[in-house]
Symmetry: D2
Subunit: 354 residues, 4 copies
């Protein structure tokens, strides 16, 4: 419970600072005999990596994964899968200006308070670079999950919002535009808006929606480890996330029970799905869907005033290569965390078959 | 990880069905030497119990707690605190009608699918009656937490919403009205609305806001066990919760970084608090605040059509004594879960002093 | 990890002091649909309870278990099983003499050092009375384990030792003599010896051997959670245990590899079984067998000198009703802990069928 | 709980097969601000590494550790410490002969049964090469533990036994002889005996004794997580271990209480120490000491008959470079595991100061 592990039976533990020698992790509990598609893993990495388009950070990190163990003759052996992603393109000098001062709305101040000092280069352990390891593990979890499909997309950037439910959107669009939204027209508007924001040296928040289909009935434990509680924790653990809602979500709080109740069809499916595929914390076989709110990135390419370790006021200037909006690159991270939650629950429910 | 435990070092494990002999739990890891105020524990129980006002279920359950261990001469001994709440007022006959059929938007169907059969009386383990045990443990956690103050209140019922931030509300009002909202005028409107809803045999959702003050800096672990991720999981594990947001929340996703960043004062506090008292998953000493969305209760006192175990259509009628709106009674549950999360993180951070 | 839970998926958490109101526990993760034989559970309790014969403590405790949850219409529901054993025959006055002084080789001193004070009555949480809860849970685990057979017996009392391997002993004798040894002649000698020891106000140690048969292949995890490592921890957690050895054990350390290696039969079984049914931490389908050493009970009915809380020398006199030798009553506890370890590993290995 | 993690707050997770690309691990929960002596870590590695003397395996593996994270400017940062040990000297061809057959008393058979197939090269995950990672983590735990001293030594090889208690031995001898025993004369006899065994292509078992001094009072949790139960599990998880005893151990089972009880001195220390420094599962400040039995290594350099995957008899010949006796190289592993157990309990007991 030292905080760098996720999951109980399908368990990921990660390490690594953004400007250290390497990041990496151990996936423990992955069942044996899964024929791994290593290219599919790298494709997921490429969806998250910097420099992939004009609207994300222009850092150049290949983010290629080296696997050290747990795979033999192309298949998982059931033993822990150790892996590393070596850092190659850090420009630590970019961070000299924050060595002794605290960037607003970053973790600099609390790390110093909690640990006494910190690896200040690029945010160290608090950098979202850590999520690369989640994507590796999530990509393997996806392969374990077989026919369960997990699809995330950007549903808003600032106040530009997709106004249709997911059933009416075109998922084929998602990987065709750099924003990863599910509508071709909106994609253009969002892209323009992010470019404008970047030009201002500013940043903007957004929302990602995730839809999980083909879920077996029975995943999730009653009481504390409800399926949506674990999904919520997983999503809230991603950098910059401020909120999570599933099914009817916050809007559901305004509804009456007579409108909100999902009536059954004779096969056990429901006519509506305000429940979001989960009842009493357990999957009911309907689609699971949820929204995740991301705040605007805290690093601005602007001059600002802040304090140093001694509490003196200091003037400084944001530098480096940063994302004007985090959601396009966060889409594969959301999917990865969803896959990890589901894989763990599948293993916890020994009678369930994929 | 069988799902009925919460916490790592300050750990609650619970048992009990709504119509079984008793509910109860074990609090393991509570430090020794805490002089327990047992009346304060019962007061928290009374805030949650049925029958406390005209706008909640009229079941009469005294919900008195018996402590079996872990307390000696008025103080905690450091050994596990076992407790039970005996069920006394169950009317199991009220539930004969659901023995073989599935209530819409309840857990009946998924329990049968997952476990093969279920204790159908009153929802069994899926009943919110289980939260009584959380309130017991949370009340003890509150006493351990000393000067940390945790205050929850109802901020909306249906579309009736408090439109002020918590700083401008009167927390003294909360326990003075049966809705547990923080504004005297709105309390009357909400109460009237809930009465109207009950008259219709219908139910309505709502939102609870929780504010935590006097928090030590440094609680929370980076990466997976971020403070807000654990708070989110805790809240999402409460029956009927559909969403969680902290700090700027979903609204933060529409903001620009230049507006959202919290500038430092020279003492390390911040001029604004869009971060919600947490940066990089770690408390920064500012107020922690969050919203929790509750769906409308699924049990309606209306006729409805559903299916039985064999998939046949059946007509039935909602009976029993139910809450038209869950939020007034959920306020102490929210506070209890927040206290459990904080107590656990205090123990995990051995250098932090309360 | 507060220390009062055992197991990951089949998990027991216990509470209770020897002279408090009740002891009890929660079994979380027991699969649903097991038709529980409650009389078989009570029979296990009766094997452990005081007053069962002339060579154990003459305290009279019925040790009857009340189940509060998790069982419906005679079957487990898959939800947590809460239970309590109410204390009825405590003579707390017997313990006034130890309130302020420390009994040698008891936990009095370390509890005071660790927790600041203690419930001194009857040893409080450190009393072996706590093991009653383990027997309840173990009895349920046994029923879950179906055809796996777990048999423990007393193989030595002081220097009286059974000198045959378990295959040459008569397990039918075990419950026919109060010592619970597996040889009728030795039973008489051991019984006489224990009576003699009791007459002297003294106590004596002993060894229990446990044999597990019909074990599925594949239980146990490589590396840290080896099957014998978990069995060892389980046994060492029982009061008064000083040692654990399995298979060839300490004697194996004197052997050569050419004698010790277990040659295969063509069906995968082995001609010898120095491995003790476990290879690389994983069950191989052969019998698992191990020995557990118990020290002599520390409570003597003799005068002795010790120190009080301030470090002053005090003279006192052992009183109360104690066991002259702990092993006869510890036999069902050993079996219970073995059952809990196996049940947990069965659930962890989802492909294994019982 | 997938089995490759050890500890709760000071937690080690490891990966790696003996002939894969690398082994490694993640140490999560190590407190921040510890100035690490990297040479001291390498010295511990050198005590474990192959080829260090004429009586151990002649494989040449440098076993040099690369640290990837969690250390900044020479000090631990409080974030996870990731590390790898790259494999450089594997002769995988040596293992072609076991690809399809099962070596007696190895894990080959059970791995195939449990996982469906296995990385057969050098035993894969079941190889004791995995313990290199434990030594890395243990060396860091030792530095965290400051003045607590942990000393292990070989107390028997076959039937050659040190016949004195640890207080009468010369710990300065341990690192002066290749056997790592604590007596110069016995060291010569043991060394000769191991050379003789190796000449025969055979192997022999042995016993390691470990003594922990300067232990703070109060480590260990009552009931399931007793200090000696965790130490026992830790030792039993080391390859080839068959038994564990602490304090009076198996010999204590023959003693009377009147001889075994440890009388108090006025300062709380005890005149004798049959308890082995632990009472009721909690350290009492006296020396902790325990014995660990190791079986003879299963790999013989002899011809032998066994079965293949289809159950056919096959004749084969042991090859490769193996240890004739495992205990000299296991000494640092025992110390490492003891350090990990203690470090975890120190963090669990927040009021204890080192």
């Amino acid at each position: 419970m030292a905080g760098n592990s996720f999951g109980t039976l399908f368990k990921l533990t990660t390490f690594g600072e953004s400007h250290g020698r390497a990041l990496g992790g151990i996936i423990d509990g992955c069942p044996s005999g899964i024929a791994l598609d290593l290219e599919a893993i790298q494709r997921e990495m490429d969806r998250r990596k910097p420099g992939q388009s004009a609207i994300v950070t222009q850092r150049k990190e290949p983010d290629s994964v080296e696997f050290y163990s747990g795979i033999f003759e192309g298949k998982t052996t059931g033993t822990p899968i150790g892996f590393a992603i070596h850092n190659t393109n850090q420009k630590s000098k970019d961070y000299g200006h924050i060595k002794d001062s605290y960037r607003p709305s970053h973790a600099d101040y609390v790390y110093d308070q909690k640990y006494g000092f910190r690896d200040y280069r690029g945010g160290g352990r608090s950098s979202a670079r850590e999520t690369a390891c989640r994507v590796v593990a999530g990509a393997i979890a996806k392969q374990f999950l077989k026919d369960v499909s997990i699809t995330a997309y950007v549903s808003s950037v600032g106040d530009l919002k997709l106004d249709k439910p997911y059933q009416e959107l075109d998922f084929d669009q998602i990987e065709k535009n750099p924003v990863r939204t599910a509508d071709a027209d909106m994609a253009i508007k969002m892209e323009e808006y992010i470019k404008q924001i970047r030009k201002e040296g500013d940043t903007v928040g957004g929302i990602i929606t995730c839809v999980i289909q083909n879920v077996p009935v029975g995943l999730g434990e009653p009481v504390f480890d409800k399926l949506h509680a674990e999904l919520g924790k997983a999503m809230l653990s991603i950098n910059a996330v401020k909120g999570f809602e599933y099914g009817s979500g916050f809007a559901g709080s305004e509804m009456k029970g007579s409108d909100h109740n999902d009536q059954f069809n004779q096969d056990g499916s429901t006519k509506t799905n305000f429940s979001g595929g989960i009842q009493g914390g357990i999957s009911n076989g309907m689609d699971i869907y949820f929204n995740i709110a991301f705040k605007p990135v805290a690093t601005l390419i602007q001059a600002y005033e802040t304090i140093d370790k001694e509490g003196n006021k200091v003037k400084t200037q944001g530098k480096g290569r940063h994302d004007p909006c985090v959601v396009p690159r966060a889409v594969p991270i959301v999917e990865a965390m969803a896959a990890l939650v589901l894989a763990d629950f599948v293993l916890l429910n020994r009678t369930i078959k994929l």
